[in-house]
């Protein structure tokens, strides 16, 4: 009985660390990529890197909106609201940026704190 109780805590901790790595590997990522998804560094505020990221996104998302427009046109369906809306979206995306929260945490906080997930952004 005591054996079960004392092994519980480290087993839960082991799951908390390695469970996500197993999840990533079962979805076909290699080991390093799976490790990296579990233990990511905070996204650096290196402005070279931010530029590279934004260059990618600002080219990709307007491509998708224009492909959407093309798909509707190909089927002879022209909805003016849709085209206006897609133009507006792609214009907005060209202007938007994203903020990186680098302050606030100490080193301990960065190591033991939350992972970069949806909720913490």
């Amino acid at each position: 009985m005591s054996l079960i109780i004392f092994l519980y805590i480290p087993l839960i901790y082991a799951y908390w660390i390695w469970g996500d790595v197993v999840k990533g590997m079962r979805q076909g990522d290699n080991f390093l990529r799976a490790l990296r998804q579990r233990f990511p560094k905070r996204i650096s505020d290196n402005s070279f890197d931010i530029d590279d990221t934004l260059i990618f996104l600002k080219q990709l998302l307007p491509l998708i909106t224009s492909a959407t427009k093309q798909a509707f046109e190909k089927n002879d369906l022209q909805i003016k609201e849709l085209e206006d809306y897609l133009d507006e979206i792609s214009k907005n995306i060209q202007q938007q940026s994203f903020s990186i929260n680098t302050g606030g945490g100490s080193i301990i906080g960065a190591i033991f704190g939350g992972r970069d997930n949806k909720i913490s952004s």
């Binding site: 197993v22 999840k23 998804q37 579990r38 996204i43 990618f56 492909a67 994203f98």
Partner: protein, 184 residues
């Protein structure tokens, strides 16, 4: 989907890769593809719903197919154009059909277009693009995620702590068994 191109580079993109997700030990499988992809970029999102006019209900399926076809073709040609540049960035395009094993019989079909870019400084950006058809409208959604490098120190510290915890619990168990054996 007969109008997909048949050239060698695009033939792998004409049919989605089937990827089961949320498999049986659900503690050890992702529930949805956006899990663990890094930080969600909330301003780089496309998400809207377009209702089709009343006399064109039968066009939903062809438009749905063409949405994937056009997007894959566009993005693929955009990636092909970049291959000759000097910059050492890799971009990957995948067309995946996710099958949720738990809700497989009742779920809608979930086809995703995944575009992943790894920058020169090893930051990863993943964009997930998907289209859904409901009874008379089409939904279009794109989400993007950024993932930083691997944090070695966090990995090492967590595993050291885990080791100490295991060692501690084993030594406590040993101590108790010794006590019992001695008759306390």
């Amino acid at each position: 989907m007969s109008n997909y191109p048949t050239s060698a580079t695009e033939s792998s993109l004409s049919k989605p890769i089937r990827q089961p997700i949320n498999r049986f030990p659900s503690l050890f499988d992702k529930e949805h593809p956006e899990e663990l992809l890094g930080r969600w970029l909330k301003y780089q999102v496309i998400s809207f719903n377009q209702q089709l006019p009343e006399n064109s209900q039968d066009k939903i399926q062809p438009i749905y197919n063409d949405l994937y076809y056009c997007t894959i073709k566009r993005v693929n040609s955009w990636i092909e154009d970049q291959k000759n540049t000097r910059i050492n960035e890799t971009t990957i395009l995948k067309y995946i059909a996710y099958l949720d094993q738990k809700y497989q019989l009742v779920d809608r079909e979930r086809h995703y277009i995944l575009v992943r870019r790894i920058t020169v400084r090893q930051t990863e950006i993943v964009s997930l693009c998907r289209f859904h058809k409901s009874n008379d409208s089409l939904y279009i959604g794109v989400d993007s995620f950024v993932l930083g490098k691997l944090q070695w120190i966090s990995l090492i510290l967590h595993n050291l702590l885990l080791l100490f915890l295991f060692q501690g619990s084993i030594s406590i168990i040993g101590f108790i068994t010794l006590m019992v054996l001695w008759g306390f």
